[in-house]
Symmetry: C2
Subunit: 425 residues, 2 copies
């Protein structure tokens, strides 16, 4: 894999040029893309040219000219954007999504559009797991996760309405960051559910996603130079714990033990019933909003919508405004309960997914360990490093308090290092 932090450092030091990094990515893409199918569209030649022409300005910018993959859910003015759907095949937006502009302003080079499942829901796209080709890479940000895991890109952008950043990051064994709601704008991305859709970032490790987040937002989010205090972690088994595989349960408990041994204060917490209510509220909110957000597509192209999404929309149609309002109230209550619960806790620790990447290309896996946290708007990070008995990655999820993204990233780095130390000793 390509560490964004390391590449940025080598560019800064003059050991590499932005064009060199484009070439490194291009080589890996040439070697593996025909089997991984991570990209909806590539733009290597133009980007290499730009990396040369604008080298000086790029090197001086926060992202140092690093290549970035953009989930094909975000509009790009120079590349077609199909939202993963045949309905939008060849569609060329007039402008860049806000997040894409922010990446360009930060000196990132958009090397390609990565595969999204259709409209970022559960119907699979064409992408395969980069290391286990008959397994799903997860979804909906399938291409972004697979491209980073395959070493084709140091940074990729995804989005999560249920679990579409954290789950594929877990399956592919990379770091994934779903920041606090609206830390990254969704303006210019195709909506599925406007109060849930959240942009996120993939990279090799925690320090890499933090670098990317800091560079894109201009926020003090880098954790590579900080002396970080040992975090206060609460292991939260959640009410869906039984849906996690034994291997995943072991992984989370193992990560907790390793963090404890490394000096973290690790407690256990039982989530109050209000959070279980909110878990159920997620589906109501998502389906109600999707019925409206994708109204045009449903009303004019229903047959071109995948079966899982069509089923969701059929269901969304039956949800009443009263149901929706109740669900939103449940979410509001739960956010308060969660804030109270975490008053002396930096982060929760839970599974990132029910288990390792399922051996199928007919499903992208289940977002059951993610939906609640998306609805809470809390920063979530997939910490990679653990694997199951056959070598499939098992990610653990670190969940911070709303708007405390830096604290969450620091805690995730701590857990990542605790896991890595265990591997060494």
């Amino acid at each position: 894999m390509l560490s964004a932090l390391e590449l940025a450092g080598r560019i800064e030091a003059g050991d590499l040029t932005p064009a060199d990094v484009v070439d490194i990515c291009a080589e890996t893409i040439a070697a593996h893309e025909s089997e991984v199918h991570a990209f909806a569209r590539l733009d290597i030649e133009r980007v290499r040219q730009r990396a040369q022409d604008a080298a000086e300005a790029l090197v001086a910018a926060p992202l140092r000219g690093l290549p970035v993959g953009i989930k094909d859910l975000f509009d790009t003015a120079d590349l077609p954007t199909a939202y993963g759907s045949p309905i939008y095949a060849g569609h060329q937006p007039k402008s860049d999504a806000a997040l894409v502009s922010m990446i360009r302003r930060a000196g990132g080079l958009v090397l390609g559009k990565t595969v999204t499942t259709p409209f970022a829901f559960l119907d699979p796209g064409k992408t395969r797991h980069p290391h286990h080709r008959d397994h799903t890479p997860g979804g909906s940000s399938s291409g972004s996760a697979a491209a980073v895991a395959a070493g084709m890109l140091p940074i990729a952008i995804g989005s999560q309405t249920g679990g579409s950043v954290i789950r594929p990051a877990s399956y592919c064994g990379i770091a994934g960051f779903k920041p606090s709601f609206r830390l990254l704008p969704m303006t210019g991305a195709k909506a599925l559910a406007w109060s849930l859709d959240t942009a996120g970032i993939f990279a090799a490790g925690i320090a890499d996603i933090a670098l990317a987040a800091a560079a894109i937002t201009g926020r003090d989010l880098r954790v590579d130079k900080a002396q970080t205090a040992a975090p206060r972690i609460a292991l939260a088994r959640t009410h869906v714990w039984a849906q996690a595989s034994e291997a995943m349960q072991d992984a989370v408990e193992h990560a907790a033990r390793l963090s404890d041994r490394a000096g973290a204060r690790v407690a256990e917490v039982r989530l109050p019933p209000a959070l279980e209510d909110a878990f159920r509220a997620h589906a109501t909110i998502q389906d109600f909003e999707a019925w409206r957000a994708l109204a045009f597509e449903y009303d004019h192209h229903r047959d071109a919508i995948g079966p899982r999404l069509r089923e969701l929309l059929d269901r969304g149609q039956t949800i009443t405004p009263d149901d929706y309002d109740s669900a939103r109230r449940a979410a509001r209550r739960a956010r308060q309960v969660l804030a109270d619960l975490m008053v002396d806790t930096d982060v929760l620790l839970t599974p990132s997914a029910p288990g390792a990447a399922p051996k199928t290309l007919g499903s992208t896996g289940a977002p059951v360990f993610n939906r609640l946290w998306t609805l809470m708007g809390a920063p979530c990070i997939n910490v990679p490093g653990l694997v199951d008995s056959v070598g499939l990655p098992l990610g653990v999820q670190v969940i911070g308090r709303f708007a405390r993204d830096r604290t969450a990233l620091e805690a995730a780095l701590f857990v990542e290092q605790a896991i890595a130390g265990a591997h060494g000793g």
Copy 2:
């Protein structure tokens, strides 16, 4: 003016067909559009045809086939959408905005796109006040307000980031409704500031906007048949009261007295300092988000952006994430303070604008009485009916509690009737 409620009733009764109403609108448009310039694009012929072809289904639908004008900030798949800007001249979106789809599903006919100021900010568009042609109709939803006020349309859609629904409604002497944040989706509308942009509705009177809101959302918002209790009103002079003209101050106090006489409980309330902080926070949030939401346009077409918006974006560039976070915290605190303040109050009563429509086409007026309430996410309604000494409309603003849109509409109806009663006696 065309009452949506009355037209819907006549269609229901079989006295009018949807095509008849299209003809009524078309006649007024033919008579006045060449001077008012309310429309960016008209679609009369196709809509008349559709009103005939689909008459049965339309009459059975909640909006009964009524013509609706859509602010040209919202995407339409069958009509170009330019967001008021030469940058997007001739731009044809691939799909309808979610709200447009909801209107079509409810049996509304999109008769045309109404003029928005460029990207819904303060640089004026081409629209004139329908009754006072050398006065501004207000902005940014200039065309929607003017078209309804001129009797060209019974219903029009607008949006408000600062005061772009309530202010033009006040200037044009019609009802305007900015519902609770995200009651109406902004998906598929061009963003200016994603945590402020709020879709709204214009119509002749309060019962008309309530009919439209109910039909579009499927919510129980109609107030024409309800026996509404006398509301508990708090006259709120706000810290910018001195910026209201004497005529506007008189109008608000007069509306309060008339409501009191009609049986409302009218108190006075002094807004706590937290709300003044939030007023200031609005600009910080708007400018910070606009710098990102319109990044593509600024970075690629800066010279084609109007001077007021360019100035805003230049300013937005200098706002730090810390400033923005502080502003959002101020907004959150103020929302809580407002909720506490209104625990025994149904609505606040304030000016809708500093005064009557200014005699200029070089400005759309000031949103100084609207920005705070947009940031609060509270439902706001312009109640028409009062005029100044030269006959220019003076709207008063009724502000409800978040998510209590029905209560706010009922109170607005009460105030409207109190004012109308005074006219009669």
